[in-house]
Amino acid sequence: MRNSIEFVVYGDYALFTDPLTKLGGEKLSYQVPTYQALKGIVESIYWKPTLIFYIDAVRVMNPIRMESKGIRPMDYGGGNTLANYTYLRDVRYQVRAYFEFNMNRPDMAYDRNEFKHHNILKRSLKAGGRRDIFLGARECQAYVEPCVFGEGDGFYNNYGDIHLGSMIHGINYPDETGRNQLEVRLWNPVMKNGIIQFIRPEQCTQVRLITDMVPKHFDRTNVITSDELLAQLEEGGNP
C-alpha cells in the first residue's frame, strides 16, 4: 500500500473501554484494540487536517491478559469515588496503517503532497511519534517503533480464529464523512492467528446515529497565522 507505515506499539497497560461498562464508571477493556484507538495512535505519530488515516490490520503479539486496579476517579463537586478498572496487561501490537487525503477539507487542498507527508510520517515514527502515545486511555502510556508487519513470534500464531463478538469499530466525525452527524460504527471482528484485518469505516454496516454535529470551521477569524504569532513574540508580548 502506498503511503503506509508499519509499526509496533507496546506498553504495560491498555484500556480500550467497552462502552457498556463506561456508563457506570467501572471500566472494562475490550480484549483487543479498536480501530479508533489505533487511528488515534497513528494520529499521535503525525497528523495534519489534510490527512485521514486508515488502519489495515493489527497483529496481537502477546497473550491477552487482564488486571484490575482500584481507582479513585474524580467527582464533579470535588472529592472522589471508588471504582475498579480492568486493564489489559503487557500488550504489544503490530499495526499497518496508511493515509489518504481528506476531501472534505478543500481548504487544505494546497497541502496535498503525498511524498512530503509520507516522509514526514516515517520520520516521525522513527522518532517515536510527535505527541505522546497511549493505549486507549490517557494513563496507559505506550511506545511506537517502526517494524515489519508480521515479523517475529506472536502468541496467537497458530491459534486459529477467535470471534470477538460485536465491537466498536470507531466514531464518524462530520469532517471526515461530510455528513453533519456524529455516528458510531460497530462491527464483528474475527482474529485469525492473531491478526485482525480491519474493514474501512465506510464499509461498516452497523452505524448508529448519535447526534447532529457540524464540523468546526477554521478561517482567518479563529486561526492565528504563524507570521502574526511571530510578530507578537518579537514584540515580547505573550499571545
Binding site: L23, G24, S68, N84, Y85, W187, Q206
Partner: protein
C-alpha cells in the same frame, strides 16, 4: 467474544432449564429466570376459580415462599414512593381494591388503580392466558381484603380497619396470634400476595407461578409494549433497548449493577456524549437474558470470597473443572496414588487422564469456549468485571493439566468423606496457597486478591509472583510460630510452589529422595531432616515437644554452617540414647555431610531448594520406618 454475549448465549443454550427450580447445597432454591420475570418471597396465596370467584386463601410457609413473578422494567427497579406495580403478583397495597376502605394509608395516588389498569391491558391483550383473565375478573371487583378477612387470614377491628399489629386489644377480640403476623416482617400492608387459579372441574392446573404458558403469555405481552428500537452493542442487531438493568446479581440483597449509568456526579461518559443512551445501548432481551444467566451461574457454581465472585463456565456444559480447586477435589483417583516415585512425566499423564474425563464429555461440539469471569464492586451501587477470559476449552484443560502436574507435592492436610486424613500428590488449591503465604488468619480481602493474582499463573502458565513464594518460604522456615499441623500444611504447599518455580526453569524435583543430587542447599535440607528424625526417634512417641532441628530451622536457613554445629552438638545425647539403633541415621548424616564440599559448607543463606531436600529426606526416612523396620534395626 464479549462476556455479555457469552452469557446471552449460555441462556439460549439452556433455555430448556428456564423456570426449573434447582437447589443449592444449603437447600436454597434458584432457577434460570424467564425473561421479564424475577423472584419474590410471597406471604399469602389466594386461590381463584376459573370464573373469577374467590375460592380460598392461605398463609404460605417460609420454605415455599419463593415465587417467580412477572415484572416490568419499572417495577423491577422501583424504590421509595414510586408507584410501579408488578404485573400480576404484588403487595397487598397494590392488589387490594378495598385497601383504602380498610384503613390503608396511601401517599398520593391509589396504587391499586395503576395495578388494575396494567393487569387489564394484559388481560385484554391477544396474548392473555385464561388464568390472567380469571385473576383480572376477580381483582377488578376490588374485594380482596374483605375476602381475606372472611376466611380469617387477615383481621379487622371494630372500626372496620385492618389490624396491623397483633396487640392485646386484638388478642381480646380474636385470641392467639394468627400465622400471618409471624410470616410478614414489618407492616402488614407489605404482605406479598400471589394468585393461583383453582379448577372447579377437578383438573389439576399448574401453579400460576410455575406455568410456562403464563411466562410466555407475559413475555409476549410485555415485548409488544417495549420502547424504541436501537442498535444493541452486544448482538449488533436493532432491538428494543433498555436503560434499566438488573441488580441482585450476587445475592438477593446485592444492589450493585453491572451496567448502570449515572453521570450527574462522576466523569464517566460526558464529553463527546450528553446522555447515557448516546454512549452505548443494549437491548432489553440481551440485558435480561445475560443477567439471568449470570445470576443462575453464580448460584450454581461460583466461588464467592468476600463478595468477589470467581466464575468458570462453558456455554454448553457448565461442569468445567474450576481453577481454584486442588487436584484432589477435581480428580481424587490419580491424586491419592500411594506411589510417589513418579517422574513428572508419568504424573502429568495421570493428570491428563483424569482431565480426559472432562475433555470427552465436553467434546460433543467442537470449538467450545471456557469463560472465566471475576466480579467485584468497589462501592455498593456498581459492580465491575475484574477479569474476563474466554479460551478454547482444549487449551484450558491443557493448562490445568500443566498446572496440576508441575505445581505438585505430597500433601496430607485433606480429609476424605469419613474424616480420615488422605495423602495426595498434586497441586494445592489457591485458597490454601493464600493461607500458606499469609497465615491462617489472612483476611478474605487478602485471599481474594491472591486468588485473582493466581489466575494468570494457572491459565497462562505464568510464574507465580515471587512475593507469594518468598512469603510462604519464610513462614515455613519458622515452624515455631505455628501449630504442628499448620506447619506441615504450609511446608507441603510451599514445596509445591517452589517445585513449580523450579519446573519453570526445567529443574523440577520429585518427592522421592534424589540421592544423586549434590546441590548444596538440597544436602543441607537433608541434614536437617535427618537430625529431626533422629531426635524424634530418641524422644519416643509420648514426647511431643519440638526437636532442636525444628527449633533451629529459622536460624539454620540463614546461617546453615554455624547452626548445623549447634544442632549436631544437641544431637549427641540423643545419639547416645538410641545406641545402636541410631547408627543408621548417624551414618547417613556423615554420608550427606561429606558430600557438601568444604568450600560450600558456609553460612551463605539457604535457597528455597533446602525445603525440598528436607521434605524428601524426611519422607524417605518415615517410609523406611514403616516398611523396612526390621531391616533397619539389624544394621
Amino acid at each position: 467474544m464479549s462476556w455479555l454475549l457469552n452469557l446471552y448465549e449460555t441462556y439460549e443454550a439452556n433455555v430448556d432449564l428456564v423456570g426449573k427450580i434447582e437447589t443449592k447445597h444449603n437447600d436454597q432454591e434458584y432457577t434460570l429466570l424467564p425473561v421479564s420475570h424475577t423472584t419474590q418471597n410471597a406471604h399469602i396465596e389466594v386461590e381463584i376459580t376459573e370464573d373469577g370467584e374467590f375460592h380460598s386463601a392461605s398463609v404460605i410457609d417460609k420454605s415455599d415462599a419463593n415465587t417467580i413473578i412477572p415484572c416490568t422494567e419499572n417495577s423491577a427497579s422501583r424504590a421509595g414512593a414510586v408507584i410501579a406495580p408488578y404485573p400480576l403478583h404484588d403487595k397487598l397495597s397494590y392488589v387490594a381494591g378495598d385497601y383504602v376502605a380498610y384503613g390503608g394509608v396511601i401517599k398520593k395516588e391509589e396504587p391499586f388503580s395503576y395495578y388494575i389498569k396494567q393487569l387489564e391491558q394484559w388481560a385484554d391483550s391477544p396474548y392473555a392466558a385464561a388464568k390472567v383473565k380469571s385473576i383480572y375478573r376477580y381483582l377488578s371487583k376490588g374485594r380482596l381484603i374483605q375476602d381475606l378477612v372472611d376466611c380469617k387470614i387477615l383481621y379487622a377491628d371494630t372500626e372496620h380497619r385492618l389490624i396491623d399489629k397483633w396487640d392485646k386489644h386484638a388478642e381480646e377480640m380474636y385470641g392467639a396470634r394468627p400465622p400471618i403476623f409471624s410470616v410478614v416482617t414489618g407492616e402488614l400492608t407489605s404482605a406479598f400476595v400471589r394468585f393461583n387459579v383453582y379448577s372447579s372441574s377437578g383438573n389439576i392446573l399448574t401453579k400460576v407461578w410455575k406455568d410456562r404458558e403464563m411466562y410466555d403469555s407475559f413475555i409476549r405481552f410485555y415485548s409488544s409494549q417495549l420502547g424504541d428500537e436501537d442498535l444493541c452493542y452486544v448482538t449488533g442487531k436493532t432491538l428494543p433497548a433498555t436503560d434499566k438493568h438488573a441488580n441482585k446479581i450476587r445475592n438477593a440483597a446485592d444492589k450493585a449493577k453491572l451496567i448502570s449509568a449515572n453521570d450527574t456526579s462522576g466523569f464517566t461518559f460526558r464529553g463527546r456524549f450528553h446522555h447515557s443512551h448516546e454512549a452505548a445501548s443494549i437491548s432489553y432481551e440481551v440485558s435480561q437474558k445475560a443477567h439471568n444467566a449470570l445470576k443462575w451461574l453464580i448460584n450454581r457454581q461460583a466461588k464467592i470470597i468476600d463478595q468477589r465472585v470467581f466464575l468458570v463456565w462453558s456455554n454448553d456444559d457448565q461442569h468445567i473443572p474450576s481453577i481454584d480447586e486442588d487436584l484432589y477435589s477435581i480428580a481424587p483417583i490419580p491424586a491419592v496414588k500411594e506411589k510417589i516415585s513418579f517422574t513428572n512425566k508419568e504424573f502429568a499423564s495421570e493428570v491428563a487422564k483424569a482431565m480426559d474425563g472432562y475433555r470427552n464429555r465436553l467434546s460433543s461440539s467442537s470449538g467450545d469456549k471456557v469463560n472465566i469471569l471475576v466480579l467485584d464492586s468497589a462501592t455498593t451501587g456498581r459492580m465491575a468485571v475484574l477479569y474476563y477470559r474466554n479460551m478454547d476449552k482444549e487449551l484450558y484443560l491443557d493448562r490445568l493439566v500443566d498446572w496440576h502436574s508441575t505445581c505438585v507435592w505430597l500433601h496430607r492436610y485433606r480429609k476424605d468423606d469419613n474424616g480420615d486424613v488422605v495423602q495426595f500428590y498434586g497441586a494445592p488449591a489457591t485458597r490454601d496457597i493464600a493461607f500458606a503465604a499469609y497465615g491462617p488468619r489472612a483476611s478474605d480481602k487478602i485471599v481474594k486478591g491472591l486468588m485473582e493474582r493466581m489466575l494468570p499463573c494457572i491459565i497462562d502458565g505464568r510464574n507465580i509472583p515471587s512475593d507469594i513464594i518468598s512469603s510462604s518460604f519464610h513462614r515455613t522456615s519458622n515452624p515455631e510460630a505455628m501449630d504442628r499441623w499448620e506447619w506441615e500444611k504450609t511446608l507441603s504447599i510451599t514445596c509445591a510452589l517452589i517445585n513449580k518455580k523450579l519446573n519453570y526453569r526445567r529443574e523440577g524435583f520429585n518427592v522421592a529422595l534424589d540421592t544423586e543430587n549434590n546441590d548444596r542447599d538440597y544436602l543441607f535440607g537433608r541434614l536437617l531432616a535427618i537430625a529431626d528424625v533422629l531426635e524424634r526417634r530418641a524422644l519416643g512417641a509420648d514426647e511431643t515437644r519440638a526437636t532442636n532441628a525444628i527449633r533451629y530451622m529459622s536460624a539454620f536457613s540463614r546461617h546453615p554452617a554455624r547452626t548445623w554445629k549447634t544442632i549436631q552438638d544437641c544431637l549427641q545425647p540423643y545419639q547416645a540414647r538410641l545406641g545402636t539403633k541410631g547408627i543408621y541415621l548417624s551414618k547417613i548424616i556423615d554420608e550427606v555431610a561429606s558430600r557438601i564440599p568444604a568450600d560450600k559448607f558456609t553460612n551463605k543463606p539457604l535457597s528455597e531448594v533446602y525445603l525440598l531436600g528436607f521434605y524428601s529426606q524426611r519422607h524417605e526416612l518415615y517410609q523406611k520406618k514403616e516398611n523396612n523396620d526390621p531391616a533397619e534395626t539389624s544394621i
